[in-house]
């Protein structure tokens, strides 16, 4: 039915830490322009999955392909592949010794060897898009958590990645800053950016996702359109998980 070009293909992925099986024979594909949201209880392997996609973790079985090219931990080819995968982490991971602009332009200049004028112009345009054009020359320590995460998103976007991986990017933020960051992500989704998102914000997940994937115990338990998943989950495990987000006395 969906003949769109696949960006990511995960086939029978197995990830273990020692004897602990984190991801068990997991297969999943992401098409161009699609936004896939991964949810599940903590420890279900969703963050590990993102890290495997970016080659930050060695895998013990199966394959991860980006545009048909294997992503392999520790291989030289990884450097080229990583430029096409943007990743934003939970903790503020800006480089503290560089200004916002330097943070953003470092890798287009050093990795992609683009010209300084073009990169700077591009960076300023992106900063404007996330509402931080006046912070270009600030240091990370002068920014709020929400501002830092928006800069981190821009730092990945400027590489023109084929896919963005967002790993619980609002989990360490104060509640009032969550919104500004998620709005940026919604904007990206609307402009057709391919994304894989791990989040605990259920309302956001429903709004941004094209497809929701529910992971538990290292396997995909249920996946489907957000509306169906959130309002009419098929599996008992998903029902139980979603119940933990509602309160009643």
């Amino acid at each position: 039915m969906n003949m769109a070009e696949h960006i990511i293909d995960i086939n029978h992925l197995v990830k273990r830490f020692g004897d602990n099986i984190i991801l068990n024979d997991l297969s999943l594909s992401v098409s161009k322009g699609e936004v896939v949201v991964l949810i599940g209880p903590s420890g279900c392997g969703k963050s590990t999955l993102l890290r495997c996609l970016n080659g930050l973790e060695p895998i013990q079985g199966g394959t991860v392909m980006l545009h048909g090219e294997p992503v392999e931990h520790g291989k030289a080819s990884l450097y080229n592949i990583r430029q096409k995968i943007g990743m934003v982490f939970q903790s503020y991971d800006l480089f503290p010794h560089m200004t916002v602009l330097k943070n953003i332009t470092l890798s287009p200049l050093k990795v992609q060897n683009r010209s300084r004028e073009e990169v700077t112009e591009n960076a300023m345009a992106l900063l404007k898009r996330v509402g931080l054009e006046d912070k270009a020359n600030s240091y990370p320590s002068e920014l709020s958590g929400g501002q830092k995460q928006r800069v981190a998103i821009v730092r990945s976007l400027i590489m023109n990645p084929d896919i963005m991986l967002l790993d619980e990017i609002t989990a360490a933020l104060d509640p009032e800053m969550v919104h500004e960051v998620l709005n940026v992500v919604l904007g990206l989704a609307n402009s057709g950016t391919t994304m894989m998102i791990v989040t605990h914000e259920m309302a956001f997940a429903e709004a941004v996702a094209d497809r929701v994937v529910f992971l538990d115990g290292g396997v995909i338990v249920e996946e489907g359109a957000p509306k169906e998943f959130f309002h009419d989950p098929k599996t008992e495990r998903a029902q139980r998980f979603l119940k933990t987000f509602t309160y009643s006395r």
Partner: protein, 217 residues
């Protein structure tokens, strides 16, 4: 205070101070090189070399310099390795200092968090680039004050060189006390000489450190 005595023997102190500083500087430079290599071996967890470095660091840190020097100067010749006093001073200081420098470099390198490395890697930066643009600039602000403290510590340690018959400041002072009993003058010149060597360095380092701390924020 007998000024004529001071005048007469001051040149001896100058000469000795030059010797102390020369050997000190060479030894410290070698210590920095050894320390950097050891720190990188430990940081990148290079097999085998890592275990050797660990043993070296423990041996170096848990024995006094004077015993190290005695072994080099009096012991090794019996195994056919003859070293001059100067060579012993340099090797001893480098052997002792290398481990201290290694720990200072390493604590700097390790102060750069894992997330920093991962986000640099996921931006496509290569290992060398991660080192150069991300790790070293951040590690420096932790390492430099510790390295500076080591330099001062090692300069002070040079005072035991006289034990292996190096004609350094202590040697001259002890000689003069033994020969002329002008203890007050001999000791005053000794203190003055060490102050001239250590005080400026110590002041420069503390100014440097304060400036770096400010830049780090």
């Amino acid at each position: 205070m007998d000024w004529s005595f001071i005048q007469k023997f001051a040149p001896m102190y100058v000469e000795a101070a030059v010797l102390t500083v020369t050997i000190g500087v060479i030894g410290i430079l070698l210590a920095v090189v050894i320390g950097l290599v050891c720190a990188l071996v430990k940081y990148y967890r290079i097999p085998v070399a890592r275990q050797i470095v660990a043993v070296y660091i423990e041996l170096s840190r848990n024995t006094p310099l004077i015993v190290q020097l005695f072994f080099l100067y009096f012991g090794l010749p019996k195994a056919g390795i003859l070293l001059s006093s100067e060579a012993c001073g340099i090797i001893g200081l480098a052997f002792l200092g290398g481990s201290y420098m290694a720990e200072s470099f390493l604590s700097g390198l390790r102060s750069v968090g894992k997330v920093q490395l991962e986000s640099a890697e996921s931006l496509g930066l290569r290992r060398g680039q991660v080192m150069r643009y991300i790790v070293i600039p951040q590690a420096a602000s932790v390492s430099v004050p510790a390295l500076a403290a080591n330099v001062i510590f090692l300069l002070k340690e040079t005072s035991v060189f006289s034990a292996v018959s190096l004609a350094d400041l202590m040697y001259v002072a002890k000689d003069l006390i033994g020969m002329y009993y002008n203890t007050g003058e001999a000791l005053t010149m000794l203190v003055a000489a060490y102050l001239v060597i250590i005080l400026p360095i110590s002041i420069v380092f503390s100014v440097l450190e304060r400036r770096m701390r400010r830049a780090g924020n």
